[in-house]
Homo-oligomer: 410 residues x 2
């Protein structure tokens, strides 16, 4: 007998019929002899509706009251799912964040979990009950206020609950059936991975693969909690297991997946003085505007004149904030022209196995070159190589890389 935490997102509980379907899935797992805790999101559309009401009244809402309103979406779902379970003969009880002991800090609407005081949950499990908990919410330590973990915090709740309860596994049910080698809409041959490591999943998530929230994967990695991503609609299917590198038998696989991201823009600063401290000045100014900088490239002075060019990428919707930060540097003549290119994309190969394989980068560059795709910027991490290219080549690049690394083969 295992203790399993199951998580269902808003689409999976988006109607009465779907809630009944989820109850059936939960009852199957329970009837196999497991202890079960279920974390659920608000019914699809409900959170948006509540956020809409809030912003109609207060465009910049007090976050405590925002949370008070928005947290009700999950409270509705937990009650309904507990009832649906009871209807099919499964003893069940629902707990809101404050009832399940989900203690957070006071950063309303993006609160971080501090502790789980799970006495009530444990007691209910001991009574043989399925415990249904509200995703996305907790209670602040100091003031006993309702706090939400921010949009999409339900995955994180589920993993945190699994960690807090020392569960054997956390199963995230979603509308995709696992993690793929790349976006199947671009590469029909994309293959579902039976297993990926936390780090690979993080790199994929940060590149826009929306299977799991980044934060939930970080949490799972930190506490080494195995997470299974599986489909609400294909129950026989094992999905993809996200787990530690040691458990993934990684030496055999070099590259696990190809990711891409069209949401970044490239900013190039020309003729900046190549002297210590200027990069610090530039990126401090940008950081003060809360802009996330990703790839950064600085060449050595190409003209031998003590001046250089500096390029970096930022999210497209933060370009204007970055430019605000750079304007003052320009007027004080610390930098020359500012060039913005929004028609770029970032294509990445991801794989824990590349650490022990030589020639991976060369193979990537060759595959892109064979298609005539120019590489504007390159950045690497231990398990990822990213190239910034012209946006129009994105799909071509993804297909070429998928083929070059033979990801369609098991």
């Amino acid at each position: 007998m295992a203790l399993i935490v199951m998580k269902f997102g808003g689409t999976s509980v988006g109607s009465v019929e779907k809630i009944k379907n989820v109850a059936q899935i939960v009852s199957n797992v329970k009837n196999e002899g497991n202890d079960v805790v279920v974390a659920v999101s608000a019914m699809a559309g409900e959170t948006d509706k509540l956020v809409g009401l809030v912003s109609e009244i207060a465009p910049t809402a007090n976050p405590r009251e925002y949370d008070q309103v928005v947290a009700t979406g999950e409270q509705v779902t937990i009650g309904l799912l507990a009832l649906a379970l009871q209807q099919i003969g499964i003893d069940a009880i629902s707990y809101c964040g404050w009832q399940m002991g989900m203690i957070t800090d006071s950063a309303h609407s993006k609160a971080r979990i501090e502790e789980i005081r799970a006495e009530r949950v444990h007691a209910s499990l001991k009574e043989g009950k399925v415990v249904v908990v509200a995703g996305f919410q907790g209670i602040t330590q100091d003031t006993q206020d309702v706090a939400t973990l921010g949009r999409g915090g339900s995955d994180t709740t589920a993993v945190a609950v699994a960690v807090g309860l020392k569960a054997d596994r956390c199963d995230i049910y979603t509308d995709v059936d696992g993690v793929y080698t790349t976006d199947p809409r671009i590469v029909p041959e994309a293959r579902r991975l039976p297993v990926v490591s936390y780090d690979e999943m993080l790199e994929m998530a940060s590149m826009g693969a929306k299977v799991l929230q980044t934060r939930s994967v970080e949490f799972a990695k930190k506490y080494n909690m195995p997470v299974r991503v599986r489909s609400t609609f294909k129950l026989d299917d094992e999905g993809t297991l996200v787990t530690s590198e040691e458990d993934t038998n990684m030496e055999k696989v070099m590259i696990s997946g190809i990711a891409y991201n069209k949401n970044e823009a490239k900013i190039t600063l020309t003729r900046i003085n190549d002297k210590p401290g200027l990069a610090s000045t530039i990126f401090s100014a940008i950081a003060q505007k809360n802009v996330n900088v990703d790839v950064i490239i600085q060449n050595i002075s190409p003209r031998g004149d003590g001046q250089t060019d500096l390029s970096f990428t930022v999210p497209k919707n933060e370009v204007h904030k970055a430019l605000e930060a750079l304007e003052s540097l320009k007027s004080s003549q610390q930098i020359g022209d500012i060039l913005v290119d929004e028609k770029v994309a970032k294509v990445s190969i991801i794989g824990a196995g590349m650490q022990s394989h030589a020639g991976v980068a060369a193979k990537m560059f060759t595959a892109l070159a064979n298609e005539g795709i120019n590489i504007m910027m390159i950045s690497t991490s231990e398990i990822k190589i990213s190239c910034v290219i012209a946006e129009k080549y994105t799909e071509l690049a993804v297909r070429a890389l998928h083929e070059a690394f033979e990801l369609e083969k098991e």
Copy 2:
């Protein structure tokens, strides 16, 4: 400076615009220098929507989970109203039942208030905040579960909060502008009463005048909390003050209002043995079915044969339950025929002043007789005289009584 509890029902907070209007009303009272606590219902329609979801999933829902779901309606409103207040510069904070210390028993969906631990509310008031509390809900003493007070429990919450906080007054804002001498739809000359006593209000409420919930009036009476009924839409208007008899200057006014009720049916049992104990047998059997009996009339044996007739009224929708209870008595020949008349109505005159005035009943019967209305049953209390008549005469009777007692005059 006074401490005032204000209550707004679902219609008054039924949209974003209406919530903003309520915020304006609250800010006026706050800016006059008062401490203010506001109790609100769910937005009109929301509770029905939630109840609908619950019953789609579980027609006979576990009441704990029912409460978990249904209580969210008020939680949304309190957050939105707090935000609307903040938008117009009023410092405000919202509290759910469990946050405001509204402790109830465990009778889910019809819980009774046991205690109010109002430390948080007091602390917030001391900080100069307007406190917005959720009507209709609390937290169970034993299990820390969400409990609702039953449909319409918001009036009771407001009065209980007022009592718990030792407020100076509880203002119930509603879509009518006070308590009238009778239903203005029947008697256009009906006059709004500036003041009524708790007992009169109770008699009126029990007769179907839906201005205040019976339970909230009982609560107010028990703790002598003055309640003002006033309109959300006519702010200059003082409405009607419901208060203790001593404060109403009642000796001057004999009759305060005329009430009517078309929801009762008359049941007559013929040829029952006029011996001790049979009435007890009959009404015990009916009580076991949870049927509320109202007027009861037993004549002395009209035929001098030791047998009598017994008539009583029950709510129309409980007639079938009453008949079930009576069937067994009939088959054991303890009673004769059972006659049901659903086409009856009860018309009442209500007034604390009738205690010290003679001739009130005679005046009532004369007024009805003058219109050719036959009286089927009569019952009296200290401050009320009710007559059961044929339903078709209801409006005629109400108008005749309103005129006879000159209620249109101040």
